[in-house]
Amino acid sequence: MEPLDNTSLEESQFRPEKKEKSTCSICREDGDGYHFGAEACRACAAFFRRSVSLDKTYLCRGNNDCEITANIRCMCRSCRFAKCLEVGMNPAGVQQRRDTIGKREIKPDSTDLMQLLGSVGDGYPPTTSAQSALVEDLHPSFNDRMPILMKMRVNYRKMDNARLVIHRKDGQSLFKEKTPKAVNYKEACAQSIREVSLVADWVAWCFDDFVTLPMDQKKVLFRNFYTPFSVLEGAFLCHINDTSNALILPSGDYIDTNNLKSFFNIPDEEQPMTDDEIEKFCRMFKPSFELNRRGLVLPMMAEKIDVFEFFALCTFVFWDFGLDEQTDDCMMIGKSVKDRVMKELAFYLRCAKRLEEPSLRVASLLTLLPALQRCVRRFQEDIEITNVFNVYAPPKDFYDLVNGKFC
């Protein structure tokens, strides 16, 4: 805050410096120095501060590409705010509610509340600050330009909270912190089956277009989606927990891929397998876990995929096309949703991650999709083998689940 009682001497001292000031990076008027992370004039800085502290949202009447220069009066506020974000202004730098006149009420604001929810909702506390950055939330200012991705984020937290409940074992306290443990084959199947309706609800709440589809098209999309999503999310959970030697499940438990014997050994089984049989299965399925690790987990770690990029990948997997029984209308809607999400992702990469060329990042991201398809295919073949040998016959509903024959 500039002192109000400037003397004329101080004013005259400041006057020569003003001529040396840089240009506002938003409207190209004379700059006023660094504000919220970018060179800005007093007008744009004040505009940004008011927009953030008062939680303003704007709607562009054009195509979100209005020109923002000083000689345009009444410039579009939506595009002006977007340009503030593009040039690097950080909403977190704005002090909350400083414009309020009168007494200041002391109450928790949305940022603190979101952080509080975040620590509870993640379900898998991040191990390092670098891992925390991957699941960090964005300031609500980004809602205008990223409505779908932000909605997916909010609903994903809710799904994580729901998982704490549905994966709770009998007798386990809801409020006690859950200790992850290695699960066996039977337990993993049971957890996957419990997840189905939860994931279906999540998808329905994320995409408004999905709700408008006929029931048969909804089934076509979801059947094609669930198994790839499980594989993709499993890889993402391994990545954000910085673990490549285990397969982490949504419940927080894991499959110890270095000790597959514990996975295939079920102590209270009616006909327990001999050690030789267990050894055979470990040898048979080890390459599949390795394929998943090298094809998905390690590339995700190398690229440091974050949670919004994960949501973009989920969107591409969900709104697939070329499916049997898929109508042309359904394909057109899917293409439209994917285009919108791509624009949101490009905005995110430019404005939140500060990438100069989002296309390159998107290209790296998209190369994960063929790898995902291969992993899913391998997984389905493994289940097929298990079913044929009938030694570890999976429950019929799990078998149908993996092959997309459910709903």
Binding site: R61, G62, L291, G295, M342, K343, S359, L366
Partner: protein, 387 residues
């Protein structure tokens, strides 16, 4: 006398109470006649400044914005048009009535902006072969590949100098073409990528066996999507499969095989391929898109048995070609959203993967039923085993 006085009083009242008309432009309280029209002080000043300073405005909408008291200043273009349409005259404005100091301040910003705009619009990125070395090399070698096919797929008695007439093929003839294609495509790949030649033999085999079936399906789909008749699937030799007459396609009189059963068996797969062809056609996939597909398919990573070194080369190759493709989209295609096009590309690839899986299953079925014994080398290629 009394009545006369009363009349005078009445006249005085009515004169004093006379109001000026409202502004014809925005409807606000009027300020009298300005430049040929009843206008308020704000609209009059707006018109005077616009004319005196020679300003020009452009509407961001369709040029039909509403002008009223509250929003008259939102769109200057429509406001000015309304002034002119309702009768304000430019000639009535006296030039340069504003103070010289204000004139300078108002003129300078627009002068500052114009050169920058001109400079930006003048920048043109030259289209250069040097910017896309890999794709250009692939394109040149693909032309050679097409020329070679004219020779290799020549039928007995055909003159190599005459133009071939495409004809409808049967299943066995199709298999023969695909068998001939394999060594040709392998050679083409070797000449497109220098890095491929330096790999160990086992890594070459892994890459190519992963690639070959995908390429067969992709290229046939690409050629078919360029063809006018989607009921004819175009093969690499230029001949085609008449897809709406499958019984004929699968019938073999020599082996006395009736094609009806096989046609019914493979029908769902053919419908899936049909959708794929329509997808490529509707998305207007061009040659450069096709070549990028080839690179993404060939230089795969995460294949079982692939070494770390091979994987790194694959990543580098894909990254380089992606850069070239983004350059192509931005500066040659003038695509405003290269990111959306990239997404489309990868979505098509996942479609292709699904079709190849189905094809492998079909070939296994045909093999089991002994409907058609494939040549061993072709069967191994399709199943994914490579000698």
């Amino acid at each position: 006398m009394d009545s006369l006085n009363f009349q005078f009083f009445e006249q005085g009242l009515s004169q004093k109470e006379t109001k000026k008309p409202n502004c014809a432009i925005c409807g606000d309280v009027g300020d009298g006649h300005h430049f040929g029209l009843d206008a308020c002080r704000a609209c009059a000043a707006f018109f005077r400044r616009t004319v005196a300073l020679g300003k020009k405005f452009e509407c961001r909408q369709q040029g039909a914005c509403k002008i009223n008291t509250i929003i008259r200043s939102i769109c200057k273009s429509c406001r000015l048009n309304k002034c002119l349409n309702l009768g304000m005259k430019r000639s009535c404005v006296q030039p340069r009535r504003d103070k010289p100091q204000k004139e300078e301040k108002l003129i300078l910003p627009s002068m500052n902006v114009s050169p920058a705009d001109i400079e930006v619009s003048c920048i043109e990125v030259p289209i250069a072969v040097e910017a896309m070395p890999i794709l250009q090399k692939m394109l040149a070698n693909y032309e050679k590949l097409k020329n070679s096919r004219n020779i290799i797929h020549r039928r007995e008695g055909d003159n190599i100098f005459e133009k071939r007439t495409p004809r409808s093929l049967k299943f066995r003839e199709t298999l023969e073409i695909l068998s001939n294609e394999m060594s040709l495509v392998a050679d083409w790949i070797g000449w497109c990528f220098n890095e491929f030649e330096f790999l160990p033999t086992d890594q070459k085999s892994i890459l190519f066996s992963n690639f070959s079936v995908n390429f067969i399906v992709l290229e046939r789909a690409f050629l078919t999507s360029k063809h006018n008749n989607l009921n004819q699937w175009v093969l690499q030799s230029g001949d085609y499969i008449q897809i709406d007459n499958l019984e004929e396609f699968f019938t073999d009189e020599q082996l006395k095989i009736d094609g009806t059963k096989l046609a019914k068996l493979f029908k769902p797969s053919l419908e899936q391929n049909d959708n794929f062809h329509k997808l490529l056609k509707s998305e207007k996939i061009e040659m450069y898109d096709f070549l990028v597909f080839v690179v993404l398919l060939f230089w795969d990573h995460g294949i079982v048995g692939q070494t770390e070194e091979c994987r790194e080369i694959s990543k580098k190759m894909k990254s380089n070609v992606t850069n070239e493709y983004i350059y192509y989209l931005k500066y040659i295609q003038k695509n405003e959203n290269p990111v959306c096009q990239l997404t489309m590309l990868v979505s098509i690839l996942t479609c292709l993967q699904r079709i190849v899986c189905r094809l492998r299953e079909d070939m296994s079925l045909a093999h089991v039923f002994d409907g058609y014994t494939l040549p061993p080398n072709l069967y191994n290629i399709i199943i994914g085993r490579y000698i």
